[in-house]
């Protein structure tokens, strides 16, 4: 093993896809379809058969733009309003225009969507304004279907390797990546003309209230790897102050799926069993009302199904206990929670970055390009707001196709061999260090500090103290030791988490207003200030290695909003109820 770590074999591919969950396999397949001669590899920290946040499938599409039910223009409007106006509409439109074709593509590949008696897609209304939810009652086969396509298109799959850093060429263009095998501790260098980051959310940023490090909402393999790698490669990130915070089943920390049960009569209720929000679609504004009810005298909050007919409850159980997070059935069983008799207690998740649900990601344009030439991002790690699984597929496809084009006109960029040596030393250091702090202890403390100082309601002085404590954790990284290659993987993830924590603090402090309901609720700047802050907040690595922030103008809208629609998402509370403050 030692010989190997000292002399990395240099692999070479045209398109390197990092992350084999949702966007990744689609990116690889579409790059191959665009040019079958390209060498395309999917790199996966786990195994592509069961990786990413849809390892057990998905129960529906949250943003299907299907002719007859919705138009791309309506969808762009809805997401613009849901995200408080801070969107690059071109990116949302690029998704919306390909949404229906992608559904048909998946249907052709064997994904089973709910259809009515005439064979049309059976779309449901969950959003505040339009109709975009398409159930997939047999969505547990999703990963198998993607795997079949990877094999069919002859994509090279590299399982059980994590990427730790990207390399840039002398002109700044992407040149490749450093890889670490979490089972053997071997390192490899892979050269690539293009890299597509599909590494998912930053799911291990906050600590779940259960205190269990891996009891996160997101698949905890997604430690924020892509956010950190893009940052160190000099890419711009955006909206990092617009956290992901979701309403979940308390302790279990998986989605209660009010949007699945909604069309069947289920809803989010307070302790009295009363509805208090008009719409269960996840947004910052909805989370704010959820938070107020949770903390108020009518709290906590529940998912209410106990009024439904037996056959409806059975159908809900069938969907929710076999897709996405199927262990929820046994969780409820342990607590004697029968949907027929008891409401399900809910809570809010730890904070994270994820454009799939909110808007925090690596800045990408409508071609999935980041600000680093040759580097792409798709899925939860990209920056197209509220993009969900179908958005990951569409942007994976866009990235794959654009990367194939890029390869036609660009050769490999050189990697500086000193950079390789430096990076290898950095990632292997915890394995060579004896008697230091174990990664799990460092991670626990770091994520506990994230909760204490960064979780909304955000307070300026608290976030500043958080920054001081993160600086101490950065020093502690020098004392972290790993007992084996598996712990070495965790040690390197701790460094990703710390990068994300520092970026979250900096971006949150920079935007001196409140926006997106709970996501960026700053107690000492409680108002939304459109004069000063109707802009994207960008984050980049500064000269001193710490994050710097700046404003980026919002591109002129391509779909204008009606005056009466603008604040639709500010009116989510049911009229007859009032939040207690």
């Amino acid at each position: 093993m030692n010989d190997k770590t000292e002399n990395d074999e240099i692999l070479e591919v045209d398109v390197l896809v990092i992350g084999g969950g949702t966007a990744g396999p689609m990116a690889a397949v579409k790059a191959k379809e665009a040019n079958p001669k390209l060498r395309v590899a999917v790199l996966e920290k786990a195994n592509v058969k069961r990786s990413g946040c849809i390892s057990m499938g998905m129960d529906g599409l949250n943003n299907a733009v299907i002719p007859g039910h919705a138009t791309p223009e309506q969808y762009v409007k809805e997401i613009t309003i849901a995200n408080d106006g801070i969107v690059n509409q071109k990116t949302v439109m690029a998704y919306a225009e390909r949404s229906f074709d992608m559904i048909n593509q998946l249907d052709e590949w064997g994904v089973k969507f709910e259809k009515d008696e005439t064979g049309d897609y059976n779309v449901k209304k969950v959003h505040h304004m339009g109709t975009y939810v398409l159930p997939m009652p047999e969505g547990h086969n999703m990963k198998k279907i993607l795997y079949r396509q990877l094999r069919r298109k002859r994509v090279q799959v590299i399982n059980r390797f994590m990427a730790t850093r990207l390399f840039n060429g002398p002109d700044g263009r992407i040149a490749g990546a450093m890889l670490l095998n979490p089972r053997t501790g071997e390192t490899e260098v892979i050269r690539a003309k293009t890299v597509i980051l599909c590494t998912g959310a930053a799911g291990r940023l906050g600590l779940p209230s259960s205190g269990y490090l891996f009891g996160t909402y997101e698949n905890p393999t997604n430690a924020g790897d892509g956010y950190a790698m893009a940052y160190h490669a000099g890419a711009e990130l955006t909206g990092l102050e617009c956290y992901q915070i979701n309403p979940l089943i308390k302790d279990y920390n998986g989605p209660a799926c009010a949007y699945v049960t909604g069309p069947m009569g289920g809803y989010t209720a307070n302790a009295h069993g009363d509805r208090f929000i008009e719409c269960d679609y996840w947004s910052g504004q909805m989370m704010m009302e959820f938070y107020k009810e949770l903390e108020g005298g009518k709290g906590p909050v529940f998912l209410k199904l106990d009024h439904l007919a037996e056959e409806t409850v059975e159908e809900i159980e069938e969907i929710l206990h076999s897709n996405e997070r199927p262990s929820r059935g046994r969780f409820h069983e342990n607590r004697n929670t029968n949907y027929r008799e008891k409401m399900v207690e809910m809570h809010i998740s730890e904070i994270g970055f994820c454009s799939g649900h909110s808007a925090s990601g690596i800045w990408t344009d409508e071609n999935a390009r980041t600000t680093v030439p040759g580097l792409y991002a798709a899925g939860d790690v990209g920056s197209v707001p509220h993009n969900y699984m179908l958005g990951a597929f569409v942007y994976g496809a866009i990235a794959g196709e654009d990367a194939a084009d890029f390869c036609a006109t660009n050769d490999f960029a050189e990697i500086d061999s000193d950079e390789i040596i430096k990076e290898r030393e950095r990632i292997l250091a915890p394995l060579k260090r004896e008697n230091g702090i174990p990664p799990n202890q460092l991670e626990y403390k770091l994520r506990r500090l994230v909760n204490d100082y960064l979780q909304p309601p955000k307070v300026t002085r608290k976030m500043e103290i958080g920054q001081e404590r993160f600086a101490e954790i950065r020093q502690d990284l020098e004392q972290m030791s790993a007992a084996d290659p598996h712990e070495l993987m965790r040690a390197n993830e701790v460094s990703f988490i710390l990068d994300c924590a520092e970026m979250a603090a900096a971006a949150s402090l920079y935007r001196t207003e409140s926006r997106w309901g709970l996501y960026h609720h700053r107690v000492d700047f409680p108002d939304t200030d459109n004069g000063e802050w109707f802009v994207h907040v960008q984050t980049k690595k500064g000269e001193d290695g710490m994050p710097i922030n700046f404003k980026r103008d919002i591109d002129s809208y391509i779909v204008e909003l009606d005056e009466s629609e603008r604040d639709a998402y500010q009116k989510l509370r049911v009229g007859s109820t009032q939040a207690e403050s």
Partner: protein, 77 residues
């Protein structure tokens, strides 16, 4: 630094009678997203080595002999 030896209960239980790791099966080890399962060669059975479970179930569902039970981790049960 001195270290403690804390004990934790593990969420993933493997029935070593039913497990066919001794026949070369590594399905659960292959599919675990968190890479927390290993094969105990002496015992001829898989086991959970690292307490880092997302209770996501691929190991249980994909096991050819139904040897695996995933329990909800105690801290959030």
């Amino acid at each position: 630094m001195p270290k403690s030896n804390l004990m934790n209960t593990m969420p993933v239980a493997v029935n070593s009678e039913a497990c066919i790791a001794d026949k070369g099966c590594t399905v659960c080890v292959d599919v675990c997203p968190l890479d927390v399962l290993l094969i105990d060669v002496a015992l001829g059975s898989a086991y959970m080595k690292y307490d880092e479970c997302w209770y996501c179930l691929p190991c249980e569902k994909d096991c050819p002999t139904d040897a695996i039970t995933v329990n909800i981790p105690y801290l959030l049960r």
